[in-house]
Symmetry: C2
Subunit: 246 residues, 2 copies
């Protein structure tokens, strides 16, 4: 087995001593190491160091085929880090995400990571029936910690959203390590029971999205045409995302 | 009527010329001015200038009764801005939020604003039956723009989440200005039809949350007890939020 590349995405602002997600992620990594003792390459991504999507990103993302800052001397930090974060995902076999639930959803910095990683032709694409994830065959582990909210309850806007985005990217195998309501011991028991990194045959995954519009421009974003100087909608297309070249 | 204080919360990284949410928000403000021609005080809050919740915030929020940076010479930017953002909400009658949908949810910077504003005894509290919002009697207008996603669809993780948080804060009157699928003109027509800033009698609102745990510490966060040096859950309470003093 060659499941040797792991990207670890951390979104807690707390350090290893205080952060439950970091500590449970560490236990999970130790378990994964036992299951696959061959050489591993672990990449660490700290979401708190990522910027918000900026104006330049919203402009450049309309042509993501140029999504390589190497030929772009004036790329903003967001654009450059978008390339790096996508590369980490593409080159990894396993994605581990530490998620402390803040106010019923994911931390803002983890949303920044998602926005930087959701790039057409990099992590997802389109075919005739809708969006198609490009991260096929990878598996994801979400370590979700919550002081009170039960993971998966009607008010869990975090876990459900993460599943949706990972599915959009084509990731079929999603394991949620449940550290809700302070049940760390239960989470450690859940980790102990993990017997494989990923099922042997990973099915192709398609995001089950409404077929509202097959134009790739429609997925990522967002702001439609601005108003013209008369206060009416402009006829110029300004959708910020993702028309493929062909 | 004294509905004269408006806080305008912007989360698009684009400027006035390119951002649809900013332009539609402007049209909305003009309409609100017509409905209430008395003196108005408009506060502007740019979410892109807000930091992520930081380590200091996660520590200080456990004692939000000290949520005033004036007596705190070493307050972090997040802690100081949390105070300011809460003050803006408390002092306003109307909250207008510009929301470009990115990847089926709100921008990361708007989540930062929510995390900085969800502070016990400032925007919400608890009584014997659960959480109780403290921003009673205010009204909110959400200008939600999306290139493709239909507002309110099963994959709209943004609007539904915002409604949930505003309800938690006690805001009963929420109007969504729908700029989904590029339908700017429809949004402008919707704005034209607005006839009042807020219904004359605002009912008390309670968030309908599961009664999983009445301890105030449970709402905001998040990470439960860390593991001790033996890798077992610590018995020391470290929930980061919000135990009231009484």
């Amino acid at each position: 087995m060659s499941h040797s590349r792991i990207v670890v995405v951390q979104s807690s602002p707390r350090n290893d001593t205080l952060s439950v997600t970091r500590q449970v992620v560490q236990k999970l990594l130790e378990k994964l190491a036992k299951l696959s003792p061959n050489d591993k390459h672990i990449l660490n991504r700290e979401c708190a160091e990522l910027p918000y999507v900026d104006k330049e990103f919203t402009e450049k993302i309309t042509n993501p085929c140029k999504h390589n800052p190497n030929g772009d001397k004036v790329a903003s930090k967001a654009w450059t880090l978008s390339w790096e974060c996508c590369e980490e995902l593409i080159q990894s076999d396993i994605i581990v995400i530490g998620v402390p639930i803040y106010n019923f959803s994911i931390p803002a910095c983890l949303k920044s990571w998602i926005d930087l990683c959701t790039v057409i032709k990099r992590t997802y694409s389109f075919d005739e029936s809708g969006p198609l994830g490009l991260l096929q065959g990878k598996s994801a582990f979400l370590v979700v910690a919550s002081g009170g909210m039960e993971i998966g309850c009607a008010y869990d806007f975090g876990t459900r959203y993460l599943r949706h985005i990972l599915t959009l990217w084509g990731i079929a195998h999603i394991t949620v390590i449940d550290v809700s309501q302070g049940q760390v011991e239960r989470a450690l028991q859940q980790i102990e029971k993990i017997t494989s990194l990923v099922p042997p045959t990973a099915p192709m995954v398609k995001a089950h999205l409404p077929t509202y519009n097959h134009k790739p421009a429609m997925i990522h974003n967002s702001e439609p045409n601005p108003l013209n100087k008369d206060g009416l909608p402009s006829t110029e297309p300004t959708d910020m995302l993702a028309v493929p070249e062909e």
